[in-house]
């Protein structure tokens, strides 16, 4: 177990190093000069060069990367070019909102996905099953900005059940969490359906049924705990999927998280922020996968970590 953990931690560190290098190269190769963005249009050539020198952007690529990495190892994500603020501070200010959104999305996707999956499994082969699976397919394939705008229009503008974007109360959380969770819900409903169908075929379910237990009790007490196991391990992996979605969802709903921060930084070529958010996201994904691996053996003793 300890050896596994040590190996995975080294792997994770290497992955993060790789991500930082690839992102840095891509941003360096960008056909847009961040200094021009900072200097603005009225700046003279000498002002532009001064700013370039002050930021160290006149140095060779490898020096710039080494400097960045040096800072990173000391926990320094650098300063935003345009906001002139520590990137760590900007991310820290926005991380709680993103985590809250993710938590909401996990609850939404489990609630919707598991319910749909269970119903579909119990009504296997019926029209209910088919329509639920079509719905899940739509959920998996619909672009998030479309889903987001649709939910916003119907439930906030027309029905006025929820506020029109923003942040602060539980009511603000519902629509963005739903938007982010719908993709996972579609995915989970399919997994839950097949897992449930598998479990319902098991001998112990037949035994339970032979004992004359109520159908409701069989499903909730006997089948569900076993069917749900493989799904729990997936939640860690969801974090990676969410990281992609938050950029879109946070922008649509005006949710003050790191996705919105990244989106604004991309438009302004604010490289330190883009790097910072990318690394934090990569860290979250690596962590999520690691947790998923660690949780699995507890759920299913047949899998053992070595």
């Amino acid at each position: 177990m300890a050896a596994f953990l040590a190996r995975r931690l080294v792997q994770s560190a290497l992955i993060l190093l790789g991500v930082s290098f690839v992102t840095f190269v891509l941003l360096y190769a960008l056909p847009a000069d961040p200094v021009r963005q900072i200097a603005g249009r009225s700046a003279t050539a000498e002002t532009v060069e001064n700013i370039r020198r002050e930021l160290g952007l006149d140095r060779p690529f490898i020096v710039q990367y080494a400097r960045y990495l040096g800072g990173l190892l000391q926990g320094d994500l650098g300063r935003s070019y345009l906001q002139k603020t520590e990137v760590a501070e900007l991310i820290a200010a926005r991380l709680p909102a993103t985590l809250l959104l993710m938590l909401g999305a996990i609850i939404a996707e489990l609630a919707i996905g598991l319910t749909m999956g269970i119903i579909a499994a119990l009504r296997r082969g019926t029209a209910t099953d088919t329509s639920l699976m079509v719905a899940s397919f739509v959920g998996v394939s619909a672009p998030q900005f479309v889903v987001g705008l649709l939910l916003l229009y119907v439930f906030a503008v027309q029905l006025q059940w929820f506020p029109i974007g923003g942040y602060g109360t539980l009511a603000h959380l519902v629509l963005p969490a739903l938007t982010l969770g719908i993709l996972g819900a579609g995915w989970y409903s399919r997994m839950m359906r097949s897992s449930m169908i598998d479990v319902l075929r098991q001998d112990y379910i037949r035994t339970a049924r032979a004992k004359g237990l109520a159908r409701r009790r069989i499903v909730l007490r006997h089948a569900l705990p076993n069917a749900i196991l493989p799904i729990i391990a997936m939640i860690g992996i969801d974090i990676g999927i969410f990281m992609g979605g938050i950029v879109v969802v946070e922008s649509v709903f005006g949710w003050p998280g790191i996705g919105q921060l990244a989106w604004q930084a991309i438009q302004r070529v604010d490289i330190p922020i883009i790097m910072g958010v990318t690394l934090v996201s990569a860290f979250a994904i690596v962590l999520g996968n690691l947790l998923a691996d660690l949780v699995t053996p507890f759920i299913d003793p047949r899998i053992r970590i070595r």
Binding site: A32, R36, S42, T44, A45, K84, L152, S251, V269
Partner: protein, 539 residues
């Protein structure tokens, strides 16, 4: 020192003949209340040496003051922290007498030392100010820029309430420069205490002070009770909510939750809003110092031929392009917008005439047209405008392929000089200050034509540069002779046709029903979206 002026009124009368009136306070104005302004993007910084986007520009104006200022809602200069000023006869020395008893938000009294410190701070390379170049006419600028000096030689503290600034060349725009945010007076101790974070903890002398800033969510400005201008500001607080899409902001305004959507009326909703009399009544329309244009790169054949550039000018149907943006603009005939001093009244420019354009092309040996590229920023409505331009060009035989890219990439291609044609939409010039020189140097003059400059036509006419320098050696920015000279410069530019001036955008500011104050405050040329210091609420 020939013109010693004792009061601001006299100073204005002598130095700015056209601008004798200061602002008359609104008799109906009521103090108190809070307004809500929304923005899509977070505020980058409130440091006056750094902030240079149209969102933080007006916010900084309300937190800080400079020696000069503008009469609210107009382009007319008035003294700010300076009570009066005098200009030496050779136009090289400006002496400002400071208003007594002005205090920073931290309670300390502002002195001439603060003015000197502020100018040195903005020009020192370590500050990385995008506006440093505006101060280039101050003596000693070069030394501080290249690091050989830490003080500006030309700036002298005469006594605690008098500062004298010596220029290395006459500069008609100098008083405008003194009214730029970059010239705001900041207290050294607050800047040094905040270190790199002064932009998040601004301390000025302005009408408001920053009360709260929750990153990514909101900023709250509160009234400066000791503001040195009598009677203003009216509002107790202003709340800026960030991270709000324009479309969402409009819905919230209709719901009574927002007073002014800072990003304006979203284009997709414009027709709908204006068609509803109740909503249209709350929209204020005004001109702005903006010109949208197509740059024609004079270094890339066949655009190096002025006749070809004229033909392109005649081929473009500007009226139709203004229709694409729902008529939110007026067709342009010249680089300067109509509300800018120096604009040439009555000049028609190149009228839309595809037949004449074809003839000109045939005369240039291009009867079959040619192929070229049109660069455009990839956000609506710019690609649609580019398509209209493409069709107009195709009608005279010019086959232009559209390169629709992110803003930064278009700016890069323009600066590098690799783009034959660029539609300026989304990046177009809006004046930093209301003076005709501001439309020449960076975007039409030789200085901007170098690698990375904003003169995307790469047009460089040294005779015109000389004429521009001559026009700027007047001491009075609004001297009729000076404005005539500028008018002449732009007419000569049109003879060479490095641009197709397409339209001048109009500004539309929407406000809630409870907002009060003259319409001019809502289309203030230097404060977008509104002049926060003078607006008020009626309930």
């Amino acid at each position: 020192m020939t013109r010693l002026l004792a009061s601001s009124a006299v100073a204005l009368a002598l130095s700015l003949p056209a601008a004798a009136q200061d602002y008359v306070p609104d008799p109906n104005a009521k103090p108190g209340g809070n307004i809500v302004i929304t923005y899509k993007d977070d505020v980058a910084t409130l440091d006056p040496a750094i902030g240079y986007d149209w969102q933080n520009w007006s916010m900084i104006k309300s937190l800080f003051d400079g020696l000069m200022d503008y009469v609210p809602g107009t382009t007319e200069l008035r003294p700010g922290l300076a009570e009066s000023y005098e200009i030496s006869e050779d136009g090289l020395t400006y002496t400002f007498r400071l208003r007594p008893g002005v205090r920073f938000h931290n309670g300390r009294e502002m002195t001439a030392e603060d003015v000197k410190y502020s100018f040195e701070r903005v020009t020192t390379p370590a500050t990385q100010s995008p506006g440093a170049g505006f101060f280039a006419s101050i003596k000693g600028y070069d030394a501080i820029t290249d690091g050989s000096a830490t003080a500006l030689e030309g700036v002298t503290v005469v006594d605690p309430s008098t500062i004298s600034i010596e220029l290395s060349r006459p500069d008609a725009t100098f008083l405008h420069v003194m009214a730029l945010n970059f010239a705001s007076v900041v207290p050294r101790e607050a800047v040094e205490a905040a270190g790199d974070d002064f932009g998040k903890a601004p301390v000025g002398t302005g009408a408001f002070r920053l009360a709260d800033w929750t990153l990514g969510q909101r900023l709250v400005f509160e009234k400066n009770p000791d503001y040195w201008r009598e009677g203003v500001p009216y509002l107790d607080t202003i709340t800026f909510e960030v991270g709000q899409e324009p479309i969402v902001a409009l819905l919230r305004l209709q719901n009574g939750e927002v007073d002014v959507p800072g990003d304006g009326i979203p284009p997709a909703k414009f027709v709908e809003v204006m068609a509803d009399p109740a909503q249209a009544a709350r929209v204020v329309e005004g001109g702005q110092l903006h010109t949208g244009y197509i740059t024609l790169n004079v270094t890339i054949p066949p655009l190096d031929n002025p006749e070809v550039r004229k033909a392109i000018n005649m081929a473009i149907n500007k009226e139709r392009i203004t229709q694409i943006i729902n008529g939110r603009a007026v067709a342009a005939s010249q680089p300067l917008p109509p509300s800018m001093p120096g604009y040439t009244e009555g000049f028609e420019g190149f009228a839309y005439d595809p037949d004449a354009a074809r003839d000109l092309l045939a005369d240039a040996g291009l009867a079959d047209g040619f192929e070229t590229e049109l660069y455009v920023m990839n956000t609506d409505p710019n690609p649609r405008i580019a398509q209209a331009i493409q069709q107009d060009l195709a009608a005279v035989g010019i086959r232009a392929s559209i390169q629709s890219l992110a803003q930064a990439n278009v700016i890069e291609a323009g600066g590098a000089g690799t783009a034959p044609m660029i539609w300026s939409g989304g990046m177009a010039w809006i004046a930093d200050f209301p003076d005709p020189s501001n439309f020449y140097g960076p975007i039409l003059g030789c200085a901007g034509a170098g690698e990375g400059g904003w003169n995307w036509s790469k047009y460089c006419n040294e005779a015109l540069d000389a004429a521009a320098t001559e026009a700027d050696s007047f001491t009075d920015p609004s001297a009729p002779d000076r404005l005539a000279k500028w008018s002449e410069v732009y007419m000569k530019v049109m003879e060479d046709a490095p641009w197709v001036p397409v339209f001048n955008e109009q500004r539309y500011t929407m406000k809630s029903a409870r907002m009060g104050g003259a319409d001019a405050l809502y289309v203030d040329p230097v404060s977008i979206p509104v002049n926060y210091d003078y607006v008020y609420v009626t309930e």
